[in-house]
Symmetry: C2
Subunit: 325 residues, 2 copies
Amino acid sequence: MSSKLKEFTERINQYIDEIELVRQPEELYLPVQYCLSNGGKRVRPLMALLGCDMFDGNIEEVIGPAAGMEIFHNFTLMHDDIMDEAPLRRGKPSVYKKWNSNTAILSGDVMFAMAIEHIAKSPSSHLKTILDLFNKTVIEVCEGQQYDMNFETLDKVSEEAYINMIRLKTAVLPAACLKAGAIIAGASEKESSLLYEFGENVGIAFQIMDDWLDIFGDEETFGKKTGGDIVANKKTWLYIKAFEMANENQLRDLRNAFTNRIFNPEEKISMVKNVYLQLGLEKSAIEKMEEYNKKAIKLLDEIKLPDKKKKPLRELSHNLLHRKI
Amino acid sequence: MSSKLKEFTERINQYIDEIELVRQPEELYLPVQYCLSNGGKRVRPLMALLGCDMFDGNIEEVIGPAAGMEIFHNFTLMHDDIMDEAPLRRGKPSVYKKWNSNTAILSGDVMFAMAIEHIAKSPSSHLKTILDLFNKTVIEVCEGQQYDMNFETLDKVSEEAYINMIRLKTAVLPAACLKAGAIIAGASEKESSLLYEFGENVGIAFQIMDDWLDIFGDEETFGKKTGGDIVANKKTWLYIKAFEMANENQLRDLRNAFTNRIFNPEEKISMVKNVYLQLGLEKSAIEKMEEYNKKAIKLLDEIKLPDKKKKPLRELSHNLLHRKI
């Protein structure tokens, strides 16, 4: 990792570590502390700082809202884990498992308020713009989560609807972070919007890569078993394309596997993975990911700044898509 | 109700009715619509408008944040009903009962974002102040809800801790509404803080009255059965004082009733109510309520404005405490 990425990540961790979390009642704040100190790569606030630094802004002016975006992100994880019944988060018990659902609801709510507390530290001349951007983003992230939950009970989801869902659920938040940084640095509407679209495309590419890794990733490198999405019947890019492309036999296999007629998880994974391989999806998912990555790079190229200004952000998105951080 | 209270309430309802709620995905927004259209007296936004009007401010400048406070209030109800397992809200099924907990969590979250959307409509010169006031209030309301949940499992709660809990859970929001109105109208820090404290005291008085009505209220007038708090083992002002003052026999009755050794609800209510009456709590709760009401009136008197300016607010708080609205 370049020294700038490292330096900025350290600054973000320092800022977040300094947030006063030993407050009363402790039943409310202990889960917040647990959640915020549970690692995480701080990618979103890092994007806010990079967006600012690219345009020669002062990163100290964006550190507050950057942390606000990170706190908001962690809040969504706390509530999503209840809704998705996810027992683990970053290898540790999720808040609703370690405590209970009520705790995860209420501690999540207070985190949302804390997020706005830090968003409110934006320079006053940009506060309204950043706050509006943040609200729009929060609403879209909620919409994305709702679409994701809706998809669980739908038989058929189009590729377009899937891409829109991951755009809302995953991509708009890093995009907003980049844009917030650019705005605070005084970038024009055009430049900051290009950066936003760059972030959206990187976010979508990232999620498709995530879907790919869940099936084809190296278990040793990533330290987790593959096939989790298949076991959970999750509608991923691979799932959707497979149903779109499958012939009669393959369709029968997919249906058998995903309607839980196959009870052994290993068998289920291998059955679905086989169809994915037959359909060439291992390769086409990577191509799809690269398609969004290329769109992103093209958008970044359009921003009128010397190339060296864009280098740290290029590095970050490269590392993200190739899972080097 | 005076024509000003009526006029302002109508303006608030009109503003809230005009909020675009027919959005996609409808699974997310239908519960929001259901919740916001489910009546409610709009007391909090009314206080914001009155706080502004008192100081000759333009109520159109405060209507946005006033609605934001009301949306936030309704969001807390949506999440509280999950935590408190409350099946009914204003006589209709609560959101988590009509749909499910996940829906109530996520639709609540999006309401929180919508609340900030309207808070952000504060005049720009006051935005930072109003936003900070709102955040502080949200955090306190979450703390109040946590204390309330903590009390459920505590044997003994002091009167002081109870008053602090209801201050946080119930009183700081109307107080913040009044203060926001005053700030936007350009009132001084001193005057707007007096109004805030007035709101806190009225809020506490209101909650003690609520506790009283649950036991001693007229079932016909209020259209609901008395004793609900006793059946639910809720720690109210009456409960706390009773345990503080009871002699040995009374203590035994209270313990028998509240440890659910008495299973028949009617019997349980009558047993507890008897002790309350023996201890003179029917009267002393009213006195306690009046104590906070008097403090409130004194604070309002300190505000340097002609008496007729304060009249609508006096009327509103009188109506609230005597349950005429």
